[in-house]
């Protein structure tokens, strides 16, 4: 009986291991960084998912989101990690000229009006991660070539699908912490969010190929930078929903870490802009955390705050003559882009 129990235990742990997304990590990635990546993938297996969000279910293509779904979603899209500075050009091979791609339509790639800030010499660029596989597929498609890449420690990978899942890992991914340790679960969640964001860039076909970002509109915090999405299921939405389903369920995260992660979630959310790019996206139904309590009028709120001893002079809306210009909820909702990959290639 005990032997059977032991065998079951061993089998169960082996099964758990088998679920980890199998990612080829280039030998050029530092050992400690490799260790962090592997730990992140291991953490992903034990990550509880809280609450059922219809948007998250739809995005991760399931009727009931579980940790296993998140793992398999990532496993389908992330295959190779290479180090920052990896030189692709000498390793690219043209396998075929005049190669016919399954969808001739190309995505629109907007040109950022701001390319860089005033970076001083003392500052080092903090690149976290970028999806090079989608860019290489797009590059090959524009030239009607079938390309392949010689990856150290792996061999030849043909670039016949954006799902090649080739991510470049930057130093910045490991230099940041949410709070405290680089190996804390909260910091691990932060890195995982990045993997999921990049994984979305492996999806799409034709106009949606690669789910390329758009330039953020005027008045936006990231105005002029290519750091926004004009769809409701792009990389920033993936990151938002990944965090929204995991933050509150993270038992190993402190209250402070959860708060800091919520700040990251909101930073991703605000990058989802309306189709016309004139304003940020306003959901049709506001998600209310305390739906049963009625919303007070502005004047009653100001009075209530005054009664509580709040300094309402700091509140613009409580000043006499304040005029509220309401945006129209639901207007110009960003569309859902087709996530079907253009081709699954040789995968």
């Amino acid at each position: 009986m005990k032997t059977i129990f032991l065998i079951i235990l061993i089998l169960l742990s082996a099964a758990a291991k088998a679920q980890t997304p199998s990612i080829h990590i280039s030998p050029g990635i530092h050992e400690d960084q490799k260790g962090s990546i592997l730990k992140d993938l291991e953490n992903l297996l034990t990550l509880p998912v809280e609450g059922q969000n219809p948007k998250a279910n739809a995005l991760f293509e399931t009727s009931y989101l579980t940790t296993a779904h998140l793992n398999s979603w990532l496993a389908d899209r992330a295959h190779h990690f290479v180090e920052q500075g990896f030189d692709f050009m000498p390793r690219l091979q043209v396998l075929q000229e005049n190669f016919t791609y399954p969808n001739l339509v190309m995505p629109t790639i907007e040109t950022a009006t701001k390319h860089s800030g005033v970076t001083t010499g003392a500052q080092t660029m903090q690149v976290r991660m970028s999806n090079k596989g989608a860019s290489l597929y797009w590059f090959a498609k524009t030239r009607n070539q079938k390309l392949a890449l010689d990856l150290p420690g792996y061999g030849i990978a043909t670039i016949t699908t954006p799902r090649i899942g080739l991510f470049m890992v930057g130093e910045g991914l490991f230099n940041e912490t949410i709070l405290g340790s680089k190996n804390s679960m909260a910091t691990s969640l932060f890195r995982m969010k990045t993997y999921f964001h990049e994984a979305r860039h492996t999806d799409g076909n034709g106009v949606s190929l690669g789910f390329f970002h758009v330039v953020c509109p005027k008045g936006h915090q990231y105005e002029g930078f290519s750091a926004c999405d004009k769809n409701s299921n792009g990389p920033y939405q993936v990151a938002t929903l990944f965090l929204s389903t995991t933050i509150n369920a993270c038992s190993k995260c402190s209250s402070a870490e959860k708060e800091a992660l919520r700040n990251v979630q909101l930073d991703n959310q605000l990058r989802i802009v309306s189709q016309s790019l004139n304003e940020i996206y306003i959901p049709i139904k506001h998600k209310k955390s305390h739906a049963d309590a009625p919303e007070m009028s502005l004047s009653s709120t100001c009075q209530a705050l005054k009664d509580q001893g709040s300094d309402i002079s700091q509140l613009e809306a409580c000043k006499p003559g304040f005029h509220f210009n309401a945006l129209t909820p639901g207007a110009d909702e960003p569309p859902l882009w087709d996530p079907t990959p253009e081709s699954t290639g040789d995968l």
Binding site: L6, G117, H213, S244, S254, E259, K287, S300, Q308, A317
Partner: protein
């Protein structure tokens, strides 16, 4: 098999203890005394009906004194008052202007200054959770934070969400979303606290 089983059991217990220590050692090492004592203080406050008020106040006072002594005698813990804490927050939290010095590639994902702002908000949140304070002072802090136009939108929205939560606790009503700038009001509704 019977001979191996006790050893296996010891090994598994050792592994489990090691795992527990690995996951909790940082908390055990860094948790301030007041944070550990707060649940006790709160439970005493709640148990007021089953004890005489005098006993409860006396025990609470004793505990508070012990905690303050423990905190002030520890070289690593500096006990800060709320005003000092808020002043530190305003002097240290990065502002929108700090994005100007960054490269475009850093905008692709939450840039460093915004992460730092989140850490400051996390620190304040933890402070409010672990220190006795006036809930109105907390509401005021979050309201003021939500109105700072030079703060990052995510930070303002998080403050607005906290202010809304506190307003509901205090008044039993939802705060008017018109108190906040429109985009902040929209954003704050996207977060579950």
């Amino acid at each position: 098999m019977k001979k191996i089983f006790p050893f296996l059991l010891i090994a598994l217990t050792g592994l489990a203890l090691g795992h527990f220590y690995q996951n909790h050692s940082s908390i055990l090492k860094t948790k301030p005394a007041i944070e550990v004592a707060n649940p006790i203080l709160n439970s005493i406050q709640k148990k007021g009906s089953s004890q005489t008020a005098d006993t409860s106040v006396s025990i609470k006072k004793n505990l508070e004194e012990n905690v303050v002594n423990a905190v002030s005698s520890s070289p690593n813990v500096h006990f800060k008052g709320l005003h000092e804490k808020i002043a530190d927050f305003y002097s240290q939290i990065p502002r929108k202007s700090s994005l100007a010095g960054l490269a475009a590639t850093e905008m692709h994902e939450t840039p460093q200054p915004i992460l730092a702002a989140g850490r400051h908000l996390g620190d304040m949140h933890e402070y409010f959770l672990t220190h006795n304070h006036d809930i109105n002072a907390e509401l005021n802090f979050y309201l003021k934070c939500s109105q700072q136009k030079d703060f990052f939108d995510s930070a303002r929205a998080l403050c607005a969400a906290r202010a809304s939560q506190l307003f509901l606790i205090i008044t039993g009503n939802q705060i008017s979303s018109k108190i906040f700038d429109d985009r902040i009001a929209i954003l704050k509704n996207q977060i579950t606290l």
